[in-house]
Symmetry: C2
Subunit: 137 residues, 2 copies
């Protein structure tokens, strides 16, 4: 039960950026703040731009800012963009395709918990994180 390292990175990046939602962050700055290998971080930032969470401005004073309000970016979207929603929602036994008509015992037992996970991710926006903000770096 885990997110991929890359998903965790993405959560780190965006939740950190949400601390000052309108600020612009450079890869270098973020690297110093949240300790992700800088070249990989840059790639992720580009990916997150392409996914529409943030937008980049080029050139000397460039960097990244949110492309929509943090209150409209939900954790589920972030994980989905990196790992794919199937990583959360897929079969707990790892079957690619399953006749969902007949739900196996494991399915039944896991169902509610999975739904809780999904709901938490779907209902939590980056803005929500600010509610009980504590500096952590």
């Amino acid at each position: 039960m885990n997110f991929s390292k890359t998903s965790k990175y993405a959560l780190r990046i965006l939740s950190h950026m949400a601390k000052d939602e309108t600020a612009q962050y450079s890869a270098q700055q973020l690297h110093e703040d949240i300790n992700i290998p800088v070249r990989y971080l840059r790639r992720l930032l580009t990916d997150l731009s392409k996914s529409g969470f943030i937008k980049s401005t080029h050139g000397r004073n460039g960097g990244f800012t949110f492309s929509r309000s943090a209150s409209q970016i939900f954790l589920s979207e972030i994980v989905d963009s990196v790992d794919g929603f199937e990583s959360i929602n897929g079969c707990i036994l790892g079957y690619d395709s399953c006749a969902f008509d007949y739900k196996c015992p494991m399915h039944v037992i896991w169902q509610e918990t999975k739904q809780k996970v999904i709901n938490t991710l779907k209902n939590t926006s980056l803005h929500d994180l600010r509610k009980n903000d504590l500096v952590f770096d």
Copy 2:
């Protein structure tokens, strides 16, 4: 949010075996039943033996049987033995070590959901799976 492929395999293996708890299963048989690459399956079975869930008997009519009651094998133990408990319980942002004194917003938000996951895994035994058994192969 995911288990490793190997953990999923382990869950497949043991939940399948729990359908007939006292039966003996050979790797070949299990391979045909649950469709895991047979050589890898064999290695996993050996690992699961070492972890104490099942025991092996060698030789021609050999195979694997549970080494303790399925009602005393909990899903959390299985996942723990393969991926490690940290994979479930660890930091959602992927930090190796964190001053747990100050819990960051993400921690607070994830806490309850994580606990639900842990509780489900800790409270569900392989025997519990049989309650609403439906054949799935």
